[in-house]
């Protein structure tokens, strides 16, 4: 670090040009169009199963609104006919009391009914949507999954679904709000048209104020929300990367940068609070004006006996409730916009096409199939017009182990994925047990093929459950014997609870080599006739490495093996080696034969790289073999 920078830090005057904390984020549209018929139809398809409940709750909310409207009217009748001005009539007072009691009972029932029904329905719709997306994602083509970040999908499954729920819950309430607003207008005009009009005159004022206020306020609310995610992101990064931060002595710079983020967060929130609070005096003032109008105009009318005193009291009651619906209705506008944007994103997920499906007449792969794998003139690409495999043909005989080798990008991984029909070929055929993989059910294909991926992916849960992932009915004895066979038993027993030890997320509490051994045991328990394996490239300590090599031999015993091999030991031990380059099969044969041929394999081999994947592209293209050791 230069002297200049050191001084700059101390003086706090210069911002380091290349320093950021948690800054790179993808933005998403929060608000959509208020109404989009396509999306509304989509949302409705989820609501439709509960339409009975929805109708019921709408009915309930209307009844509830009616009772709310009725209460001031009952008070009015009680005052005017039951007690006021010496014309007291005890019978009227009693019937008013009974009416009041009946009304509040209905009010109680309606509010209970409406809220439970709508609340439960909204929860159900939320879970249904999430399940629909999740189960759809289990079937969509892997090419979609390859290019989509898990984080983005998770935000569909959570954030977007939540804003739909909010929308559902508030929509029914909004119907109540509209009814209440209309009801108050009607009742006021009916009680006294002149006084009603005068009082209602304040209403449009609030509407207009809200109209100007909303866009500004919304922007400040969004800003507050945005700065909050930024600050939280920076905090999370600081916690995850704390070891690096400390070893690089970045605490001071980071603290300063974090300060900027939380400061922005605080200021945005203060501004948002201003916008939120500025409405309070406006609403109170308008309420005051309305009440003053009733007092002056209504009061004079009462004095001149042209208005009953009860009506005046009823007016004062209605005014108290006057502005609530307007307030929540304008907020509902934003809720709707947000729901449309979320609905759009949810639809996008649900509309991802499912490319690979079972044919209508697909049959199960017979149990006694021979276990052979064959590629016949296979051409395949993820993007039309850009094939990653061209016209590849080869056959793996039952029980044979074939190593697939080639430089990075040669199409090995794609070939492996085709065996399991993760994708469909563009032309040609992939046959398993002599049958086209497109003619058999995917489920049966999965039962006959066990796969071991390069990165051993483990799930949270016990070691036991992870090993029997493929075969959930496997017994404890089966699991233990598989673990013993691959040499994982010893370290598993050293874990705190042995086979019942919980693996943390993705098995982060055991070493990478150990994760691989568990994934081997998992494949062994699966006991499939065909094993497709992508060897790990990472260097593992020699002790575990040795164990893995032994386990590999056990795993391949008596099975048809298609191995994407990276280690020379594995490659040389295979029955046959298939060499791929740029998506074409360039040569095949065993190690000795290929070395004699002095082709690509011999050249790659002589470069003495630990793995073919590491060889720089220019060396492969350059031709001349170069000895580095």
């Amino acid at each position: 670090m230069s002297i200049r920078s050191e001084k700059a830090i101390i003086a706090g005057t210069e911002r380091p040009p290349r320093a950021v904390v948690g800054s790179h984020r993808e933005k998403e549209e929060i608000f959509g169009a208020v109404y989009d018929p396509k999306i509304v139809r989509r949302i409705w398809s989820f609501v439709a199963p509960y339409r009975g409940q929805v109708y019921l709750s709408v009915a309930a909310v209307l009844v509830f609104t009616l009772t709310q409207l009725a209460i001031p009217l009952i008070i009015r009748t009680a005052i005017d006919s039951g007690m006021a001005g010496g014309v007291a009539d005890h019978a009227v007072l009693v019937s008013c009391a009974l009416a009041f009691a009946a009304t509040i009972l209905v009010n109680y029932g309606a509010s209970y009914l409406q809220e439970t029904v709508v609340g439960s329905a909204a929860e159900r719709v939320l879970f249904d949507m999430r399940r629909a997306m999740f189960s759809h994602l289990q079937r969509v083509s892997l090419s979609f999954m390859d290019k989509t970040e898990v984080g983005r999908l998770m935000s569909r499954l959570q954030g977007d679904v939540n804003s739909m729920q909010e929308f559902m819950e508030t929509s029914v309430l909004s119907i109540g709000d509209i009814a209440l607003l209309a009801g108050i207008v009607v009742v006021l005009l009916w009680l006294d048209p002149r006084l009603g009009l005068l009082t209602l005159a304040t209403m449009p004022v609030l509407f207009i104020v809200r109209l100007f206020w909303l866009p500004l306020a919304k922007r400040s609310f969004m800003e507050a929300h945005e700065t909050s995610s930024i600050a939280n992101g920076a905090l999370a990064e600081g916690i995850h990367g704390v070891r690096t931060v400390q070893s690089m002595s970045r605490q001071r710079v980071n603290f300063e940068l974090y300060d900027e983020k939380v400061r922005a967060h605080r200021d945005a929130n203060l501004l948002a609070a201003k916008y939120a609070q500025v409405m309070v005096p406006i609403v109170d003032t308008l309420t005051g004006i309305a009440m003053a109008t009733v007092i002056v105009v209504g009061g004079s009318m009462v004095l001149s006996k042209s208005l009953d005193i009860g009506v005046m009291v009823a007016f004062l009651f209605y005014i108290q409730r006057f502005f609530d619906p307007i307030r929540s209705l304008t907020l509902q506008y934003s809720v709707m916009q947000r729901a449309m944007a979320s609905g759009q994103r949810i639809s996008e997920v649900l509309d991802v096409p499912v490319d690979v499906t079972d044919k209508a007449d697909a049959v199960a792969l017979p149990e006694d199939m021979d276990g052979s794998v064959e590629f016949r003139k296979v051409t395949f690409g993820y993007v039309p017009g850009q094939p990653v495999l061209h016209d590849v043909s080869f056959r793996v005989n039952p029980g044979e182990t074939v190593a697939l080798v080639g430089p990075t990008g040669s199409g090995k991984t794609s070939a492996m994925a085709l065996v399991h029909r993760f994708y469909d070929v563009t032309s040609g055929q992939v046959l398993v047990g002599g049958r086209d993989v497109r003619d058999v059910t995917q489920d049966s294909l999965g039962r006959h093929i066990a796969m071991v991926l390069q990165e051993p992916f483990l799930f949270s849960g016990t070691v036991f459950d992870n090993i029997r992932y493929h075969k959930t009915e496997a017994s404890r004895a089966e699991v233990i014997s598989a673990a013993k066979a691959v040499g994982a038993h010893e370290f598993i027993m050293q874990l705190p609870k042995g086979y019942d030890s919980e693996l943390e997320q993705r098995g982060s509490n055991i070493s990478q080599g150990q994760r691989q051994l568990i994934s081997f045991a998992r494949a062994l328990v699966a006991d499939a006739q065909i094993l497709v394996l992508d060897e790990a490239t990472a260097n593992i300590d020699s002790y575990t490495e040795r164990q893995i090599q032994k386990a590999l031999a056990i795993l391949l015993k008596g099975r048809t093996g298609l191995v994407i091999a990276h280690r020379l030991a594995t490659i040389r031990g295979a029955d046959r080696i298939i060499v791929l380059q740029n998506g074409t099969l360039v040569e095949q044969g065993n190690h000795d034969a290929l070395m004699q041929k002095k082709g690509l394999y011999a050249r790659l081999y002589s470069m003495n790289y630990a793995s073919f994947d590491d060889i720089p592209a220019e060396l492969i293209a350059g031709g001349a073999p170069r000895m580095t050791s």
């Binding site: 670090m1 920078s5 003086a11 005057t13 290349r18 005052i79 007690m83 006021a84 007291a88 009391a97 009041f100 009691a101 109680y108 509010s111 209970y112 609340g119 929860e123 879970f127 999430r130 994602l137 289990q138 898990v150 959570q158 600081g238 995850h240 400390q246 070893s247 002595s249 710079v253 300063e256 929130n269 609070a273 609070q277 406006i282 007092i295 002056v296 009061g299 004079s300 009291v313 009651f317 108290q320 399991h420 999965g446 066990a450 949270s460 993705r506 699966a526 990472a538 002790y543 040795r546 590999l552 031999a553 030991a569 031990g573 295979a574 029955d575 470069m607 790289y609 590491d614 580095t628």
Partner: protein, 620 residues
Amino acid sequence: MTLTAATRAEQRETSLAHVKAAGWGKGLGTLARITRLTLRHPWQASAAVLATLVAATLQLVIPRLLGRAVDEAQGILSANADSAVAAQHALLITAATLLAVSVLRGLFTMAQNYYGDSVGHHLGYELRLATYEKLQRLSFSFHDKVHTGDLITLGILDIEGVRMFFNTGLVRMVLLTVLIGFGAILLISTDPLLGLLSLSFVPFVAWRSSVTQLLLRSTWLELQERLAVLTRVMDENLGGIRVVRAFAAQAFELSKFDRISEGALNLAHERVLIRVRNTSAMNFSFFAAMGLVLWVGGGRVAAGTMTVGTLASFLTFMTILQMPVRQLGLMVNSFARASTCGRRLFELLDQEITIADKPGAKPLELRDGVLAFEGVGFTYPGAEKPALVGIDFTARPGQTIGIVGPPGSGKSTIAHLIPRFYDVSAGRITIDGQDIRDVTLQSLRRAVGVVQQDAFLFTTSIENNVAYGDPWAEEQRIARAAESAQLHDYIVGLPTGYGTIVGERGASLSGGQRQRLTIARSLILRHAILVFDDSTAAVDAGTEQRIRAAIRAHAAERATLIISHRLSSLMHADEILFIEDGRIVERGTHAELLAADGRYRALHDLQLPPVEDALQGAAE
């Protein structure tokens, strides 16, 4: 707002000082400590409380004014019936007063909410800074034992719970006390029976809403836990979708999802019911009280012992009181939340920083850069067995020390002790004769670089990642470091070159590329002593040789420690230490150790396996 950097720095320090100053109340309860923190903003806090008092008082005036207006309209208050003008006049005055009171109430409520919120946001700012600062300085042993997810929750949700306490707890308490307390006095002094009836719903609603809020809070926490499990299931499923498909486990995964989802849904339903039962019952009790007031009051009005205006003022008073009383539950909830959140937060803020500069520590005086371990022993906190015992060695400039041993033998621990990620338990480590515990951390960590195995990459450009330790670095220096790490060619081949975003959500780099990026990040700092902690495990042997050659070419005169399980990485070292169970069991050069025919030799032979047998079993 344009603040100078110096002002900002000063404000930062003040904020930290605020939080620290509240620390001497450790014996106090959590809520008392939060209150003390709040009082660090005396002006805004008093403004909020004052505004609350005024707003609440004005609130109480409104029903009286309305009642008076009703009576005036009936001409009751005018001395003689024919003075209509006087009655008109009285109405006008009442209306004007009411309007003024309404406007003022609005303004003071605004001030109450705004300042209440503002105190919360300022407090939140201070707590966020203090938490971040603390987390950055707490040593590895703290971070080893606390889950990152818990720390993030603490830094986000717990701070929320604490910072909201002022506004949703304290201010609301003042408001409710004034409204209910003065309101009760006012009503009961006007008419004891009717006053009691008007208030009859208050205890019930207060109790119900408190119980309900606490219940909602506990079920909310439970729901969050279940949803977290659901999140994990979905996240792992989507992240491991290839495994799921490879094992045809979609149906199994869906059933797992359904099981957890079902549980969460049931709990969500339960919460809806709890909430609704409460609101319906609260509404009902309120209206029932209103009915009683109407019945008794109506009787009195009919009997002529009470005016319609007084009855109306009782009724409006009830409407005004209704909302705040319901919020009593929220207030109780706020107290409960602040108390648990605050306890967790203060526990973190009170953590002792175990590895820090000694008082009066001086910067390391770097002369040659000689690193020496003198009888170093180390035991991890809470562990019974020592991780290292009696480690002695010296690394001189230009020398390379190789450290090798089985997994878990303590190799990495040696690396972690040099920059003081942990402090030794016995013996000492010196650089140029100075005990590393006597010098400043900043200077020590600038002199020593440790390249870690699974180093964290930040979600930002490659350029920013390489320049992480020196964000002032010029482009050429960044490129040079990347060249030495054999990564430059790859980077310039990327469509966006050095600007490519990497890290958690960035472009996917292979394990080897990530490690090389980590190496470049260390090289840029030109440390006097460089430690490679198994940091080339995913880099192939050929590339590793080129990296070593490049490092030697640029800085021949530094001490290097290479910890590796790959012997080819360290066979050329000047001295190789074989570690087992935390002790040096063999030491010497590669040739000497081979000749000794001990453990090193055994490992060496293991790494040259008879490859032929690797797949033999399969062919049978």
